[in-house]
């Protein structure tokens, strides 16, 4: 077939096709980054811009594309495909489009390789630049962020369109005839944007993810403008252990992605990075993926300059799945760690308290009493028997108006001369340790708990934080607020009112001068 093609032309053609494939991947992936792309024109040829187009090369994308090609070129029956999919923060994912670079057997032997083919490939890339902005996935990719991200996957071999759902549409970007065959670039994109959840296993609704041959290399990278904790997760979908997707939630949306994205934002779901859409596998899922496929490297793409503060990760993916796993584990639990840390702390506190209460019967009651014992110790320097009785009946009863005991006996109203008498050193609340009389309601079965306020060191000093708490937590009631005293003061105030008024009238000038200074 290529007998008419001299070796130089053959070399040139192979080179053109190879770099065209790489540039195609770059254009597609960059168009799904979620940002506007801008490159500068240069009147002087730089020598490094293939097809006379300023298309930046993201190193990781080039690396993955080369890995997928594995030294081969698109040929008859061997297509290079770029799959674009969407993944929500809850782990639901959906294929949006598949870009295919194919070659058929129709040859154009008369065409000039170094001139015509090159220029037509350049034109085809321009067409790709235009078409990548008009498919529905573009609008979705521009709105990706906290709720969902756009992923890509490159594979080489047979085109798999089953993941696009029913009624997908196809747009042909263009064709270029060459002496070896006709290069065709096309895109198949999804119309039905109903969600397919991958979180549960079980029934197969037929909309299975495309299977990937073992010989095919797959990789998935997420592009997102969301914060680092959300953008670093990576998934390789091509895993045979994946539970078949089950239609969990149908989101009926119009074809255009804009309305779809609106509905996504209105049904915002909390993001849990630990659940990477794989059900119970959670953190282990990407690792399983990586291990299950040949040279499958889930990786993350870091695009410099992206908003959201993408964490610095080496642009070249680490070799070996182990490195990828480590990196992923390092990054993904950023929020998960927070989630997991929050839970045990409170339970630990509770357990500590409950464990310190001995001799109790009935755990919930113990817990309640024990907690109140602590609170008493924290806030009130009261005989424990009194306080615990009150606390059993009414929470925070120590703050309620005291009708049980006389104020004279209230150590906070009439504080003792020396706070040391209270012996707060141990933080204990034995009834012996506090002044004041008891009402006769003693509860000898309570266990004193050492009160250790937060941030305090051991009670070495006489006046420690715990002491401060105990002494000043229950300050004496204001005399003006007490009924009798208040009543007395009111009467006195009324009587003394004329005298006060006379005094004030004498000082009117001073008051006026003061007011003027304020103006």
């Amino acid at each position: 077939m290529d007998t008419d093609l001299n070796s130089q032309d053959r070399k040139d053609l192979d080179k053109f096709i190879k770099f065209f494939a790489l540039k195609t991947v770059q254009v597609i992936v960059q168009a799904r980054l979620g940002e506007k792309i801008c490159t500068r024109s240069s009147s002087s040829p730089t020598g490094s811009d293939w097809f006379n187009l300023a298309i930046k090369d993201i190193p990781e994308v080039t690396h993955e594309a080369k890995k997928a090609l594995a030294g081969q070129l698109p040929a008859v029956g061997r297509s290079m495909c770029v799959e674009i999919s969407l993944k929500t923060s809850e782990g639901d994912s959906m294929e949006l489009e598949i870009w295919c670079l194919e070659m058929n057997e129709k040859c154009d032997k008369e065409i000039k390789v170094s001139y015509t083919v090159y220029n037509r490939l350049s034109l085809l890339l321009k067409s790709l630049l235009a078409i990548t902005r008009v498919t529905p996935a573009y609008r979705l990719s521009r709105k990706q962020g906290h709720e969902y991200v756009i992923l890509y996957r490159i594979y080489f071999g047979e085109v798999q369109l089953s993941g696009l759902g029913e009624g997908f549409q196809t747009v042909r970007v263009g064709t270029v005839g060459t002496p070896l065959g006709t290069i065709t670039l096309s895109c198949a994109y999804r119309i039905n944007l109903a969600f397919i959840s991958t979180r549960t296993s079980g029934e197969d609704n037929g909309a299975a993810y495309p299977s990937v041959e073992d010989s095919q290399e797959v990789c998935t990278t997420s592009f997102s403008t969301s914060p680092p904790s959300q953008c670093v997760f990576t998934v390789t979908k091509a895993h045979f252990q994946t539970p078949p997707p089950v239609l969990m939630d149908t989101l009926k949306v119009p074809m255009m992605g804009l309305a779809f994205s609106h509905q996504l934002s209105s049904s915002r779901l909390s993001y849990q990075p630990a659940a990477l859409g794989v059900g119970s596998a959670d953190m282990g899922y990407p690792v399983i993926f990586a291990g299950g496929l040949n040279a499958a490297h889930p990786h993350q793409l870091i695009v410099p300059g992206k908003e959201g503060g993408v964490p610095p990760v080496p642009s070249q993916p680490a070799h070996g799945t182990q490195a990828d796993h480590e990196r992923m584990v390092m990054c993904t639990p950023l929020d998960g760690a927070l989630y997991s840390a929050a839970t045990p702390s409170s339970s630990e506190d509770t357990e500590t308290v409950s464990n310190s209460s001995e001799g109790k019967s009935g755990s919930p009651h113990d817990l309640l009493e024990t907690i109140f014992v602590r609170k008493v110790g924290a806030f009130v320097n009261k005989p424990i028997n009194q306080v615990t009785m009150a606390s059993l009946d009414i929470p925070f009863a120590m703050f309620a108006p005291k009708n049980v005991e006389l104020e004279d006996n209230d150590p906070m109203v009439n504080p003792p001369d020396s706070p040391d008498v209270e012996s707060p050193l141990q933080g204990s609340l034995h009834s012996e340790g506090s002044s004041g009389s008891s009402t006769g309601n003693t509860h000898d079965d309570f266990v004193m708990v050492d009160f250790k306020p937060a941030f305090s060191k051991d009670d070495i000093l006489p006046m420690d934080l715990g002491t401060f708490y105990r002494e000043f937590q229950n300050p004496p009631q204001l005399s003006s607020l007490s009924i009798d005293i208040g009543a007395q003061s009111m009467a006195e105030d009324l009587d003394s009112l004329p005298e006060k008024l006379a005094v004030h009238e004498k000082n009117v000038k001073e008051f006026d001068a003061f007011v003027e200074t304020l103006q």
Binding site: I37, S41, S43, L53, R120, L123, A130, R142
Partner: protein, 218 residues
């Protein structure tokens, strides 16, 4: 050689005219522009690099890619602005068309001026609609965006038929094929013209300064 003619039709609201026209014209010119030629000895030449940038429309849910050339963008905006003003203030029912014509110059002997031979003409027929409320405008934003997507696909389909293109000129003839006046890119020679249709349906040809200058200048 017959001139290739393509016709596109869009219905837009008044404030969408400019963006819709620019989206279509820029997409066409993206395909019809190359880098600057740098001729070397022995008849060879090198080609500069064409950059691209995305443009978000304000009144249409649409983004298009255009050539990164401010000069080219200014030229198109000027022409589209004139078309929009003519469409709005002509008193017509809001029907008009704007044409982008690619041509070659053919040298003629003195005293005749060079002949302009079009080889591709893109005509965009515009129908301006009036909307009553904001809800209709929102729907129009999306609908026009979808329509422009279809137009871009149509344009790309035509471009990739690989039909007639002027052959690459020698250094002495490059100005007959390309517009070498821009500093960063080199589109094929083109001209933009427009027509406004009045309410009676007859064509009211407006004066187009560039067209008159090119065809009647001596």
């Amino acid at each position: 050689m017959n001139c290739r003619a393509e016709v596109l039709e869009v219905s837009v609201e008044g404030r969408q005219i400019e963006e819709a026209m620019l989206a279509v014209l820029h997409t066409i010119l993206l395909h019809r522009s190359t880098g600057k030629f740098h001729y070397k000895k022995e008849g060879t030449y090198s080609i500069g690099t064409v950059g691209t940038q995305d443009v978000d429309c304000d009144f249409i849910d649409f983004t298009y890619a255009r050539v990164s050339s401010e000069e080219l963008d200014r030229a198109l905006r000027k022409a589209v602005g004139e078309f929009k003003d003519a469409l709005r203030y002509s008193g017509s029912d809001g029907i008009g068309q704007i044409s982008l014509e690619f041509y070659q110059k053919k040298k003629s002997r003195w005293p005749f001026s060079d002949e302009c031979i079009p080889w591709e003409v893109w005509t965009i027929k515009v129908n301006v609609v009036n909307l009553a409320n904001e809800q209709e405008r929102q729907i129009c934003r999306e609908k026009v965006g979808e329509k422009l997507c279809e137009k871009i696909i149509n344009i790309v389909e035509v471009m990739n038929r690989h039909e007639y293109l002027p052959k690459m000129p020698t250094q002495s003839e490059v100005d007959n094929v390309f517009d070498t006046g821009l500093k960063d890119v080199q589109p094929y020679l083109y001209k933009i013209s427009y027509q406004i249709t009045d309410s009676l349906g007859s064509s009211v040809t407006t004066t187009m300064r560039r067209l008159i200058k090119d065809t009647l200048a001596l």
